[in-house]
């Protein structure tokens, strides 16, 4: 049953989605010929981001000058679909997703012989600002499809603040 008390940052959903899609596609381990798509996966392979619900306002405070500060979170999955996976290949897929989570958290990941650290989150508009992006799970096998492809997934939550003056 849905929680009737959930309040969504409706206007923020599109802003956060666009920023996350841009950020995810900067992941250094993503081959240049590939792209993480939004909510769409090829039948046999692909990588995609799926929002889990909407952007939820988890806390709201008003200051004495009349400005409102909301803390919001935007949970999402990144799915990696591939077929014909051997045991070693499955492990590589899991590591790829786990490293994506680590990179989004600001930890250093190594691709080939090069180390990469994300130094800042993308700028947002309309008074919003990313605070943290953190894994909500480790990468794991999510689904085995009828064509024997496998969907591996990692759950991630972006937290951001939204400040504005309420009338």
């Amino acid at each position: 049953m849905a929680d009737e008390n959930v309040v969504l940052d409706v206007a923020g959903y599109d802003i956060i989605t666009d920023a996350l899609m841009e950020l995810l596609n900067q992941y250094p381990a993503l081959p240049q010929s590939e792209k993480i798509t939004f909510a769409t996966l090829g039948e046999n392979q692909g990588k995609a981001m799926f929002p889990q619900g909407g952007a939820v306002i988890v806390e709201e405070q008003s200051d004495i000058l009349g400005r409102v500060r909301q803390t919001c979170q935007y949970p999402f999955y990144v799915l990696y679909r591939a077929g014909g996976l051997t045991s070693a290949r499955k492990q590589k897929v899991k590591e790829w997703l786990d490293d994506l989570g680590r990179w989004l958290e600001g930890q250093t990941v190594t691709v080939g012989e090069t180390s990469y650290t994300l130094d800042q989150y993308p700028e947002l508009t309309d008074g919003r600002k990313f605070r943290t992006i953190q894994r909500a799970s480790v990468a794991a096998l999510n689904t085995i499809n009828s064509n024997n492809t496998e969907d591996w997934a990692i759950a991630i939550t972006a937290r951001y603040t939204n400040e504005f003056k309420r009338l």
Partner: protein, 179 residues
Amino acid sequence: MADLTFLTTSGETVKRELLIAYLHTSNTGGNPSNPVWSPIGSRVTDSSEELDWSEDSSTDILGVTRTTMKKPVITQTFDPWDLDGGDAAILKIWNLAIKDQDYSALAAQDVLIVHCYAGASTSAMFAERYEACAIRPTGLGGEGGGVVGMPIDITYGGKRTVGTASISAQGAVTFSASA
């Protein structure tokens, strides 16, 4: 000054943001007759003036109680008050307190309290100016993963001048002392 009325709708409570304290943030030596007023309290969620009337009650041998009071000493705490480079008020106090440790200047700050809910009109709102307030930062820091805060206590003092204030659409405050 004649009694004032509230500018808010009868039957409605008064929004908290209609009572704002402003700090004179012009540079030291700036023109005190043409100050720049910057609001105090961005990100502060709860702050109230505390009025100490030095109340003293005594009961005589006939059982009659009498109470004396003095002009109030007004204090106000802003906690937490998070550092923000775009907040002129906190920037001024940080420079005086943390960079310079200028306790003399901290004890002589010019503060204007604007009661936006009271007055003759929204262009003539009741305001009181205290020209020598003591502003005392009580800490500097915060928890890991959080932000740096610098809570302050203000004791309103110095010459008190009442008058009216207007606030432009851009937030510029103009104070006029009552005749």
